[in-house]
Symmetry: D2
Subunit: 304 residues, 4 copies
């Protein structure tokens, strides 16, 4: 299986993929449970050693995955419940829980590419407070505790000539937030995960991740402040989906890789610039952006 790269941004899938082949992995702890009162399945993967990180192809840290089957459907009540659950898990990862802080939300991705427009969509719906606090102080909000929320949509390199990471770094130097929350559309390995899986992690954004494939890191290491990344897979690489189907078939047939690699390689190369996405991705991205932004709004509200 040398001829293609398994493309997944989900720790959940990386683990599945490895376990299918090798069984348990040292340095990786996983726990799973269902949320009460709402149809959401939670998987928490903690990578706590270099060995685990190498095996998983993901950095050391915590990965919380919410699988919310109904999320791909337009059910407002369910979406509202999922926002609350997102908020709860985001609060687990935020530093200084319950205390006032300044938070910079970064909406990664490309507003003009439907499947990559999740980050910009989240920022469009956020409740922003920083400018009012700067101008009028807390008096603007008539409440005791309030977080200072700012947000930016850095845009994509082809349009800015700059890495998203460079733009964020400049803004962090200038405005000195306590923590960054970065939103991005992800690539999954399995269509079953699309538009219904939310991954939260305290490891930030790494090169090659996201639908748009960032080149530079947006992490605590590169920026000096904690970076929480939240993502939802919206596409599967077309090459991956075919490889996986063939792989499963070969396993079933007990066939040797070599027999098929020639033909397979051609087909996969052809699919190089293609992805698989849901037919209603345009409407879905809008809905998911709103649900996620509501989750952030709830998590950031110190008076709720």
């Amino acid at each position: 299986m040398e001829y293609f790269r398994v493309r997944t941004d989900l720790a959940l899938e990386a683990r599945e993929f490895i376990e299918e082949a090798d069984g348990e992995i040292r340095g990786v702890i996983a726990e799973e449970y269902d949320e009460k009162d709402c149809d959401v399945h939670v998987t928490k993967v903690v990578i706590n050693s270099k060995n685990g990180a190498k095996a998983m192809g993901k950095p050391i840290g915590t990965y919380i995955t919410l699988e919310a089957a109904g999320l791909s459907q337009p059910d407002e009540d369910y979406h509202r419940e999922v926002s609350v659950i997102i908020a709860k898990h985001l609060q687990e990862l935020l530093p200084k829980p319950g205390e006032e802080k300044s938070i910079l939300v970064v909406g990664l991705g490309n507003r003009d590419v439907t499947a990559d427009a999740l980050g910009p969509g989240v920022v469009d719906n956020l409740y922003i407070t920083r400018h009012m606090l700067m101008q009028f102080g807390k008096a603007a909000y008539e409440c005791e505790k309030i977080n200072q929320i700012s947000a930016v949509i850095p845009g994509v390199m082809g349009k800015t000539g700059m890495e998203s990471a460079e733009i964020v770094k400049g803004i962090v130097k200038q405005t000195k937030p306590d923590v960054i929350v970065a939103i991005d559309a992800l690539a999954a390995r399995n269509t079953r995960r699309l538009n219904r899986t939310i991954q939260l992690t305290n490891t930030g954004i790494h090169p090659g991740s996201g639908v748009g494939n960032h080149r530079d890191s947006i992490t605590q290491e590169s920026l000096g402040v904690p970076v929480i990344a939240i993502g939802i897979p919206t596409v599967v690489d077309a090459a991956t989906i075919v490889s996986d189907a063939i792989e499963r078939m070969k396993r079933e047939l007990g066939e040797n890789d070599m027999l098929f690699s020639g033909e397979g390689t051609g087909t996969l190369a052809e699919m190089n610039n293609m992805y698989v996405t849901s037919k209603d991705i345009d409407a879905t991205i809008k809905r998911l952006g709103y649900t996620l932004s509501e989750g952030l709004n709830i998590a950031f509200d110190l008076n709720a």
Copy 2:
């Protein structure tokens, strides 16, 4: 191979698919050539008997397919050349060549679903003349011969409660055009065809065709005036792409269908609401819509 439907709107692919299996088909004549001075490959398939229609799963009529490899890239000069070639072949299919006539262009599809927005995009760029001719006569254009061009974007059933075919039928009754040109985004069977293949046919639009799957016909039979359909494939059904890869693999391995059908069926069902499209589909659809609308503008200009 009972467990999936081969989904292609391209006569070209239907023929390939059949010929791979059965060799030549009675009642189907095909000719192929390259355009001079421009990298476009032309395939003309004429289905002239019921047998041919049955074998191809397409109605009797003429299907011209232009394969323009560079069309998926943003090269303005090449796009302009392709517009001229589209115009030439459209004129072959238009009734009363060289004479004044009234033409209603129908932009099928859904403006809010990127891969299905080709038809609306074409209408947005068309040179419309009917309203000026109705109000001021030919004086408005200072030229001897002028076609009366009108256009409509009927929208999709989920948003209108009406078949596109019903809306078009009503407008045809009211405005009595001489010919209809209907534009639609198509589904192909092969990713190699996406965004670079243009099909022109005098058989109109048939149930189940297009990215959005129309239920009713938009044809000379249903409307009483000739209907020329022009389409560009923008998606491949995800299930089709996997089936095809597996099929090719099985053929290569000489395996029996039955061995794999169980696993295969599950995988395919999962992909039911998914399609494969190019990563830059948002920008591509805009470019293709413009190139196609320019082709129509040139074809409709009697003074060129």
Copy 3:
């Protein structure tokens, strides 16, 4: 005051304007009251004679105007209350109250001109039932009584080559609805009315009305079925606003018209293609479209 035309689509304003000058008008009955439990002022103007119609420059019929001061602000609860009030007054005007009927909603205006995009926005949010009823019958809705709702966005003449009225006429012939509800953005004479006034009338759409200035009628007379028109003023003609200011000033000063007409004419001509609109018109149009579509959804629901 010969040198400019008073441009208003609101019966309310036509009446004000006339009464300022001439006092009461024969053939026009007006009643005013405040809605209970919600800050909405209702004016009902009934024109019941040719004399009244001539004086008002509006056809015989009923004009209900809702002035909802908070409508221009983003207060969700208030918007929801206004939707209910719109529904109540729309039901007054609909034929066969409480009975099942088929209703065609027409979203007039231009989706690509912000201040004129109200009609298309309303259609985008409507609850459409006709296609489901046609395919599955009432079983699709598990309820005893259901209206058959369809909708169309005819587009503007410059892009279709057809009057909106022609398109609607064709669709009415084909699908035979019992009643038409046409939505349009209006021009007011006073900025105070913008984005907070809703006019409902059973007289349909008349030439020269709307932001886009339709040329043909969409009325019971022209289509053979009742036409209810609902509009919200989103612009004031720039020339009108200046004329009105000057007019008020002259009245205050007791000056003669003639002294100023020269300079005034120049200024007004310059403003010919200009309008006055609110700075947040983009966001406002979206909100108003949603509030209006909710009003229609409530009014059309026979089981509420």
Copy 4:
């Protein structure tokens, strides 16, 4: 005339306004001429003393205004000519003419408010080179001299919680460009100027300027690098337009201010959140954005 503020971002208009009242101004030099071969009128205003700056309400520096009457119409050839003229005057203001440099283009304004979307529109069409030069060096462009072009759309304070100036400052610190070119939609005092007047200045962006009213400076003083600002007026404050009409009338009538101030004040307050814009502003903004971005592309091309 205390009761309203004259709102204009155009040095041209500030000068006109003052000269009407007071005649020539010390510290302000103005020269005017017509471009050869293209219908564009050039006014160059140089403010070279504190007195001039105070009188004009504008900082010391050079203001070049291009009045291009045809710019508000969709004539492609004329737009192309204007792009070349913009390029010529922009090159006059750029430091280190003919030498390679790094240029950061800043698209100010709000993408979601039509009349304020000029800046974002310009950035969308720019030819960006920085990322390619960073990754592949000059080899990427096969040419001897190339400018390093990057661009950013900072967004508006209500959506980011940050001043555009803060975001730009952070990015400047991080990426160290040699010069900034900031694009913004402006407010004029006269509708005659809308969509056809281009102002280029080496004084940057100052608080209160632009359709969106920035609070902080984007200037050489605040950023440490030269800032060239390019703007096109797309709106007139509604209050301003009425005030001006009344003012002209009073002058004509020889009346005293006081007589009218009561009524006038009420009318103007009502128009507080309103502006005057052209009816086809949506299409116009797209066209102007393209023409301006082409001007920048030409000006930045060292091999032309």
